[in-house]
Amino acid sequence: MDASAETREPAEFGRGIVGSGIRVELLDYVQLVALGGRDRMIEVVTPQGSCRIWFDTGDIIHAVFGEVEGELAFFRLLRVGAGTFTETTVDNMPTPTIMRSSTSLLLEAARVDDESRTAATVQRPATSKAALQSEDSGKIELFTEFEDSSIPAPTPPLHEPQPDASPSSPRTVEAEGYGMMLEQFWQYEGVTGAALVANTGDVLANDLRGADHLLTVAGFYVRGAARLARTLGLGVSEAICACEPHGAQAMVLQLGNAYVLLALGPDADPRSLQRTILDPQLHPQVATT
């Protein structure tokens, strides 16, 4: 912290943080806020405009950067590379545009960061962070390695495994394995769709047959269940079942490091199904990742 920072007015207690001349990695800072599990809005002022990010109980639910909203706005902020931020509490949350968990979003951001660093090494081996030194050291400065527009833009977040050109590649074999796992659930009466989702939020296999919207809702259910577990001091959620007013049902079961999402018809008995699937003695062939 330099002398000019010390002359700035201190942040008003209880109204959030304003910068004080500290340089932090954006991803580290976002992770810190996410782990805090609080409601926050961060405004990052960059040379290319301001970006606002909303956290709902630690989950990043919305981001706006100019005309861009959602995950793309968050990734665009990473590309800019430098800025200052202020953090405030919020009472009214905007409509969510980011559905995946903060953990999943940050993992994707880290992947994008890694790929961009690799590209930067190839194209620009002499990149120096010194160029990022801000004249205004009175605010917290966020920086990444994406300051040069010649670096390829981060790819959009992935919701499904990317196809691989080689039919015998490990990724293809893996996808076939997930598909086989998913097929097991069709033997149960009342199942109208199924999907397998990693604990990072990535969809490993999807056979929901017209009920794909449940993938988004299931993300809310899983994150909500995790919060309930933390609040109530309970273990990990084993099963979540949601009944819709017209009779359709959705069930999320945790199987090892993955979740299975089942769409169920009105006549299905989710409790019986849950017991059957979760009890290895009743159904030993269900494998987990």
């Binding site: 109530l232 979540i240 819709e244």
Partner: protein, 115 residues
């Protein structure tokens, strides 16, 4: 949730059922209006807010739910949408039967949905 919530959904009656640990009546903003059981105010508020947002998210994505149940080992949580924004939450032993709770809430749920 309106002031007549207690007349439609008796948290006391539900709280007396076998295996029930806590009952929360939550309004549309996530504020806990009534509670029965041993849950302290802060966790009750967090639970209410979390579940209220889950119902809102489901509705936003065209998958409006009337009942969401969670199972955590020895504990289960039942969350009922008892009016367009209100929520009744029951925390109970996983081994306890849920049907008596559902039977008590369901008429009120229908009444409030029709109101």
């Amino acid at each position: 949730m309106s002031a007549d919530a207690g007349a439609l959904v008796s948290t006391g009656a539900i709280g007396s059922l076998d295996g029930v640990r806590a009952v929360l009546n939550v309004d549309a903003t996530g504020r806990v209006e009534q509670s029965a059981g041993a849950l302290a105010a802060a966790p009750a508020r967090d639970v209410g807010r979390t579940i209220t947002r889950m119902f809102a998210a489901a509705k936003l994505h065209n998958a409006a739910a009337s009942l969401i149940t969670f199972r955590f080992g020895a504990v289960q949580v039942l969350a009922f949408a008892v009016d367009p924004g209100g929520t009744l939450i029951v925390i109970m032993d996983a081994s306890a039967h849920t049907q008596p709770v559902i039977d008590l809430v369901a008429p009120a749920q229908l009444l409030r949905s029709a109101a």
